[in-house]
Symmetry: C2
Subunit: 533 residues, 2 copies
């Protein structure tokens, strides 16, 4: 498939493939490296723009819902190709807008096109629809009807771009990819911290939609510096689901808006996580130094702005002298980091200052722009267990080392945890046997339980769960990363007594698509073709 | 497995296998046939009882969550056996409490034990856990970690028994069966209209829990005539999900309680549905009479108290003279029906009286007890489209015939529909071709689209979807009937880097359970055993 060229930046929303008019409210992106304003000026979408974007999505929805998986795979691959082709342009602009280093952004481009192709592969395989066929039995009393079901899309989905991944969790990120894959039109509310990157990606998506021949309303991108456009979208009666990655406050506000609608709708909000790490005695003994330096790298990676940053570390104090010493020394060597926005940098400073009573090690003093200082806080488990605020996420290059008196206190800390995206245990096999109960508790608190690796790497694959119980996400029954994310934007529909021609291809006797199906309760292989009767 | 014997009725809640104390508030079941009070007296659970039931569930949860599917299948089969063994006692008591006829209740016993065995079969098969394994690749840069995921239970689930199915949607009904199957302890809030039937079933479940050796807190049954116990349960921080079948008002109240918690939890509420039926021209021509008498049977079945009762019927007036005539005549022959409770009978009368301006045919005058008269209401499409109240469910033996001027008006009515459990189309193949757009619209409004059958039969199988968009249910992404109901009470959890011995059996290299798994993106047959490395 030919890739699509990116045009220049216009500073306006893209609604169903067309540029919105400029409006009264405008804003700019900023360079976190020096705090400077970036051109062009961006105009916030108006109430009428929101209506137009939703109307476009509503119009596109029925056709897009009935498109084949193969057709939607083409769309995802065209977007992926467009992103790869525009990689250099995207990296340059994203680097200006986020101060994330080029190697990181190069990886993020690949991650973004890679996850679009992962979903394309899921669509091409086709078995994801969970086709189930229970055939008729006219001899039974009463006669048994023919019932067939499969997953179908929900309708227009609103996606909020995240600040910390200007590509992979933004305009063509995982939420957009999974919602489109499932057959839903998408309206993205762009994150105002990287409007230029967002607009470039929107143009790539628009070109792909046109190339593959879907209705223009399949995709829209709306800008807004504040919360009004997002609130309007989430409250719009025609919007059927929401994907969000951001702060707890923002996510909970969207949840409350969605649940107080006349028709409540699902909100998939990834909201914040402190990602506890437990370093067990055997591991401390075997590799204190490597773990301490690795931890420092992990919690300062990307300026400590990963959703899975390890923000709390539990050790048995009596065994952790070397670990603690190395960790402190590493932190004092930390360079200064530039955070994504002025707001994030200010909250970081305020949050760390509020903990000034704790033992603190710091790195190089913060430099120009939206800067932050690498920071290690330390506290005794007794104090940690009585002050809930210590377990809350601080976005930025800081972690909290919790010194536990004994194994029992570590278990107590684990039991007191709220929901997180991840929990990590560094352990020898002997530790894992001895601390089996700790792992059993941690499993109930998170979406991903990790042994002997730092949580900051999030693989995009079929098994990944990037989710977890509230308050890490709004809905622990789902993941926002990996191919299982497609299941967020669908519902099962049963068809009873329909003649073959009126059924979706996935449910016809003759298994034209060669997909796996549950046929009278037995899973049938994709290659097996049921003979038509 | 030996079946378990039912003891006598005690009139008190059963908490973690033990009888609660009697309290101050008490109530009785009533006989809908004559309005008479039934013994024994039932005591409402106290706030302390709620705490005890939740504490029992919390204590049981970790052990129950880690039990094998085979062990939980034994529990479900023991409950099913106990229900079958106590069938006569259950039918007698349920008949007294609901006035539902013996043949219907005999069928409901079989449906209840049958659905418990359906879930047992799902557990014995084992593949439902959606095991996904992405193996490590140390040669990749950066090295690819080993990640494995599967579905795990949520924790204590609260189930509200329904009035209209004293067995199949009540104490050991579909919600309880699916929540237990998924590995969650269950606390049932009994429906106060059939407390005796509920208590008998609770004793069967308790005996099964004991027989199979699960913790007693795996199951509790709480009584309450009002809403206090239910509200306490839904707001309890340790409760993780809710299943409910009942009215829209009741369901929405629970949704609002759950979404305003500090930690919002999922509510699966089936709330009400008017189940539109469209009789297309070809079908009207071919079999007007059979359709009219069939419709009358369907909307008065069980006194019109099925969730899937056809409550709105759309025809093209010019073609429906015979159909309408036969339907009117059938209705005037209707016997009187006894509804489940005095409250339901009163609401029925009030709701039908409010529509007295419509053309009305009625059956035999209502007799003794909580009685209701079979009723047909008729209205022109113009009036229907301007009065939203006409599309609301009336629980009881009534349906609304909507006379449409032409096909376009039928389409207009379909587009205006809210979410329903089912939509039915009676049609010839020619009709289906000509009205393809109508079916496409209906598909987006319901959980089950039916051709040429009445919606009141709800098969319990693998493909069934008994759900549908709001306001039919709180969450259209799920079904409360059939084996897919198990997916309501689970969440995916990923395990990264765990050694084989620390993984759940479903995720170990060696596929001991012989289940289907997604291994590096390819579905592997249950019989395929991966060689251990």
């Amino acid at each position: 498939m030919a890739s699509v060229a990116v045009e220049k930046l216009h500073g306006r929303s893209w609604i169903a493939g067309a540029l919105a008019e400029s409006g009264s409210n405008s804003f700019h992106g900023y360079s976190p490296a020096d705090g400077g304003k970036l051109e062009p000026e961006y105009f916030s979408a108006s109430a009428a723009d929101v209506e137009r974007a939703v109307a476009g999505a509503v119009e596109a929805a029925p056709l897009f819902a009935r498109s084949s998986g193969m057709e939607r795979a083409k769309l995802l691959r065209a977007i992926a190709d467009g992103i790869d082709a525009a990689a250099e342009q995207l990296i340059v602009r994203a680097n200006q807008e986020t101060a994330l280093p080029r190697p990181r952004l190069t990886g993020e481009v690949a991650r973004t096109s890679g996850q679009l192709r992962l979903f394309a592969g899921v669509l091409e395989d086709g078995s994801w629809v969970n086709a189930r066929i229970d055939t008729a039995d006219p001899m039974r009393t009463p006669p048994k009807p023919d019932i067939r079901s499969m997953l179908r899309p929900l309708g227009p989905v609103v996606v909020f771009g995240a600040s910390n991944f200007p590509l992979a969790f933004s305009v063509a990120g995982g939420d957009t990819a999974s919602a489109l894959a499932a057959g839903n039109p998408v309206i993205v509310k762009a994150h105002p911290a990287h409007p230029g990157t967002g607009e470039l990606v929107a143009q790539i998506i628009n070109a792909a939609v046109q190339l593959v021949g879907f209705p223009a309303g399949t995709f829209s991108l709306l800008f807004d510096e504040g919360h009004e456009v997002g609130a309007r979208l989430v409250q719009h009666p025609a919007v059927k689901a929401v994907g969000f990655t951001g702060s707890f406050r923002g996510g909970r506000a969207l949840m409350d808006l969605a649940s107080s609608r006349k028709e409540p709708i699902p909100v998939y909000a990834e909201m914040g996580s402190t990602n506890p790490v437990f370093v067990l005695p055997g591991a401390l003994k075997e590799k204190s130094e490597a773990l301490a330096t690795g931890l420092h790298q992990s919690f300062t990676l990307g300026g400590g702005q990963f959703c899975t940053k390890p923000g709390m570390v539990f050790v048995e104090e009596a065994l952790a002298a070397d670990f603690t010493k190395t960790l402190r020394a590493s932190v004092t060597q930390s360079p200064s980091f530039n955070l994504l926005t002025e707001g994030i940098a200010k909250v970081f400073d305020r949050s760390v200052s509020a903990k000034s009573s704790l033992a603190t090690s710091v790195g190089t003093e913060a430099g120009a722009g939206f800067a932050a200082q690498g920071t290690l806080l330390e506290v005794k488990a007794e104090a940690f267990l009585t002050d809930h605020s210590l377990s809350e996420e601080i976005f930025g290059p800081v972690t909290l080392l919790v010194h536990c008196g004994a194994a029992a206190q570590m278990m107590q800390a684990a039991q007191a945890l709220e929901g997180h995206l991840t929990a990590t245990v560094f352990a020898t096999e002997e530790d894992l046997v001895q601390y089996a109960d700790l792992l059993h508790v941690l499993e109930t608190k998170v979406g991903r339980l990790i042994v002997n690796a730092f949580p900051t790497g999030v693989e995009v694959n079929h098994a990944m769960v990037h989710g977890g119980p509230y308050p890490a996400t709004s809905d622990g029954r789902s993941t926002s990363v990996g191919s299982q994310a497609i299941f967020r934007f669908v519902r099962p529909v049963a068809y009873q007594g329909l003649p073959q021609f009126a059924l979706p291809p996935e449910l016809r006797d003759r298994n034209e698509l060669g997909i796996y199906r549950l046929w009278n309760g037995k899973l049938e292989s994709g290659s097996h073709v049921v003979e038509s009767k």
